[in-house]
Amino acid sequence: MDNAARSRGLRPNQGILNMARKADIKAIDQIVKKVGLSKTQRRLLHDEITKQNHSFEEIRKIAEEIKKLYPNK
């Protein structure tokens, strides 16, 4: 938790942030299913998009690349 926010007992826009997060992982789940990734490939996708600033379209392309690079995973 952000220390300054914690000290004030404030978490600006936290409710909106949490709704967005659930929407984000639902969107990732849909990309995984649409591209047809296995669960092993899904884990690789998580590793490849973490700490990045990718759009959903970029994430979909990365998912397709993983499917090609790791066909037997």
Partner: protein
């Protein structure tokens, strides 16, 4: 893919006990509060990760056990919660980073939904609350554990599967 029985909890415990966390992967756009932890020995990857945001070590190695979390969670410190899946990215990365360098000293798995509680030395606790249940969950799973020989997939709900790696 194999459906396994609850005695898997005993196996998980024996596989996780004593392992040191050496990397926490979290944060980024559209990743939400999901994260993974690399635990135990460094095992060379079949192919390095392309993601340059990770350190070289993680791009080239995974853990002998790797926890991947898709569900709700909280990290407790000695006297108070330090962060949770409800926190800001900054808070999440800080709390998960505090697990790096510490070892797992207790493992509890609670049925029916496979909630997981890991105690790290000296006092941190990581609790996973498996909130993805059948119907229309936001994600097809709650958490995963990948060891050198097996991958275990927990959730949604009571479902649990394993497969050889």
């Amino acid at each position: 893919m194999t459906i396994v029985t609850p005695d898997i909890v005993v196996q998980l415990r024996s596989q996780l006990m004593g392992l040191e966390c050496w990397y926490a992967s979290a944060g980024g756009k559209h990743v939400g509060s999901t994260f993974s932890l690399a635990l135990g020995a460094r095992i060379p990857r079949e192919k390095p990760l392309e993601n340059s945001a990770h350190p070289e070590e993680y791009r080239n190695y995974e853990g002998e056990a790797n926890l991947v979390v898709w569900c709700t969670w909280r990290v407790d410190g000695q006297d108070a919660p330090e962060s949770s899946s409800d926190d800001t990215d900054k808070g999440i990365e800080s709390a998960l980073g505090s697990l790096v360098g510490s070892r797992i000293v207790d493992v509890v798995v609670e049925r029916p939904a496979w909630d997981l509680r890991l105690l790290f030395s000296p006092f941190h606790r990581l609790r996973l609350f498996c909130d993805h249940v059948p119907g229309d969950p936001s994600f097809d799973g709650n958490w995963e554990l990948h060891t050198t020989k097996e991958s275990y997939y927990f959730g949604p709900g009571v479902s649990m599967e394993s497969e050889s790696r």
